[in-house]
């Protein structure tokens, strides 16, 4: 029953969206809507059939579907209004949401909105890999859906560009299904994802890894029949004379995830050019009152457990906004300093404990993190592919000088 007295409307039913919807209910919202464009709840969790999920949140080593099922059950038990195969066509700054499904197009006016659209994958076209436009080029996530949900393999002889976790997971998955992964090609001098995946996806199966290489041409006019790879220099430019061809019928791309913010942009949400996602405060609220955001649409996470926590925070605050609870003032800006690529949230009250999530720009060993001059933390090793948490307690915040309006978060080599 579509009602017009909606407290919280959540866009996207991946881990962030489900957590937000459940938490909104638990925080007292009567009418919570959960809108999903796909055929089922869970977002990408349904296709992430590998394990490694829930180690923090449930203290168990679960697969994506198992992790998702816990939340799907809670959603179904919580009287949340679920709309599947429903696309949000429009979003406005004053929170008018236009939905579309087989029952028609309708505009709703919820009191709060949580944006949880997740992310999309960078494509061959946007990184301009030369060549014709043959069939057989897939992004790793789309291939994952095809293999794990639809029941089709993109090809039999695969080259994977990009050594992020999605690429490595698919290297293993396709190998187990009987395909041959001829190489994983990575432009940086190090693997992009978790060590665990490096070992259990690549080394276990003796899949050749070409570091400091990239694909410089795709061979094949109607269907891929090979790729040309070359070594790159420090500026990531191909080195002439190092070209070699690898026969294959499929190229999988794992070259970056981009927070999906078409709706945010449409509504006028301020986006951070570094993350690609909305600028948020410690309540996960955007610059538009009542519009909150969580999960990969804010910044690309590595652990789904953190996405759930973020979603819960957004859901709780969305519920509070819907019940017209007074919102605290956000007086302090958090700024990314040395070797810090970005920090989330970008605005805090400065009065309550807050967890800062961040990524570094370059890998480094033996570092000290500084938040203004109120907090430090040392770490043995940091990598851009691993998101880090810094907890600013009230004790730390009390150390702030009067009149402070911003805190710089930096990462420096010790000694």
């Amino acid at each position: 029953m579509i009602s017009d007295n909606i407290d919280v409307l959540v866009i996207g039913s991946g881990p962030a969206g489900m957590a937000a919807a459940i938490q909104a209910k638990e925080s007292g919202s009567d009418h919570v809507f959960l809108v999903e464009r796909a055929e089922e709840l869970g977002g990408l969790l349904s296709q992430c059939i590998h394990n490694g999920f829930g180690l923090i949140y449930f203290n168990e080593d679960m697969t994506g579907p198992e992790y998702g099922q816990r939340f799907v059950e809670k959603v179904m038990d919580s009287k949340i209004e679920v709309l599947l195969e429903t696309m949000v066509l429009r979003l406005t700054a004053d929170r008018k949401v236009t939905l579309c499904n087989r029952n028609g197009v309708k505009t709703l006016s919820p009191k709060s909105i949580v944006l949880a659209m997740g992310c999309r994958e960078r494509t061959r076209e946007s990184i301009v890999i030369p060549g014709y436009r043959p069939a057989g080029i897939f992004t790793a996530g789309t291939a994952q859906r095809l293999v794990n949900i639809e029941g089709y393999l993109p090809g039999k002889e695969i080259v994977i560009l990009g050594s992020g976790d999605v690429g490595m997971i698919m290297a293993r998955r396709l190998t187990l299904e009987g395909a041959r992964v001829k190489a994983v090609v990575e432009i940086l001098p190090y693997i992009g994802g978790l060590i665990r995946n490096e070992v259990q996806c690549l080394y276990d199966f003796k899949i050749p890894v070409l570091l400091e290489h990239t694909v410089i041409n795709i061979l094949g006019i109607q269907r891929v029949h090979g790729v040309t790879v070359a070594r790159v220099d420090q500026n990531r430019n191909p080195i002439s004379g190092t070209e070699k061809s690898i026969d294959c019928d499929t190229l999988l791309l794992s070259v970056g995830l981009i927070p999906e913010n078409e709706l945010s942009f449409m509504a006028g949400v301020n986006l951070d050019p570094i993350t690609g996602g909305p600028l948020v405060n410690e309540r996960m609220e955007t610059n538009l009152p009542g519009i909150f955001a969580a999960g990969n649409c804010v910044h690309v996470n590595d652990l789904v457990d953190n996405v759930t926590l973020e979603g819960e925070k957004a859901g709780q605050n969305a519920a509070e906004h819907a019940s017209e609870k007074a919102a605290p003032k956000m007086g302090i800006k958090l700024v990314a300093g040395d070797n810090v690529r970005y920090v989330i949230p970008q605005m805090i009250t400065g009065e309550r404990e807050v967890t800062i999530r961040l990524r570094v720009k370059e890998p480094e060993k033996g570092v000290i993190f500084k938040v203004g001059d109120i907090m430090t933390k040392t770490l043995k090793v940091v990598k851009p592919s691993e998101m880090l948490n810094l907890i600013l307690s009230e004790t730390h915040l009390n150390k702030m000088k009067k009149g402070t309006t911003q805190l710089v978060v930096s990462c420096q080599k010790k000694g």
């Binding site: 349904s46 059939i49 590998h50 394990n51 080593d61 679960m62 697969t63 994506g64 579907p65 198992e66 099922q69 799907v72 293999v147 794990n148 949900i149 639809e150 029941g151 998955r173 187990l176 299904e177 009987g178 978790l194 060590i195 665990r196 490096e198 070992v199 259990q200 080394y203 276990d204 043995k380 090793v381 940091v382 990598k383 691993e386």
Partner: protein
Amino acid sequence: MVKNLNEIICIICPLACRISVAVDDEGRLIEVANFQCKEGKEYAVAEYRSPMRVLTTTVIVGKSRHALVPVRTNRVILREKLFDCMQHLSRIKVEPPLKVGDVIVKNILNTGSDIITTSELVD
């Protein structure tokens, strides 16, 4: 006595120590080097002796609007058994309804692990 050196990359923490496990020709442990914590040392020895893995894959579903159901081993199994299990499972077909944790194959290929579903399939 001949020392055979094997390098194990530790996956316990982001340091990813390259731990060296030295064994003699009879496979007896001589030395473990280049680790930074007890857990890492234990992991490296276990991993050298007998690498164990969780297998996650899919099984074909019939009489359903779904094509596949995701499954896993409920225990770690020997790494060298992964492909045999994949072969075995490629011949199996299941039907809904299925709940998370339903056993599809008990003690698959004598590994001591069952194959259980990881997703609910109503229809």
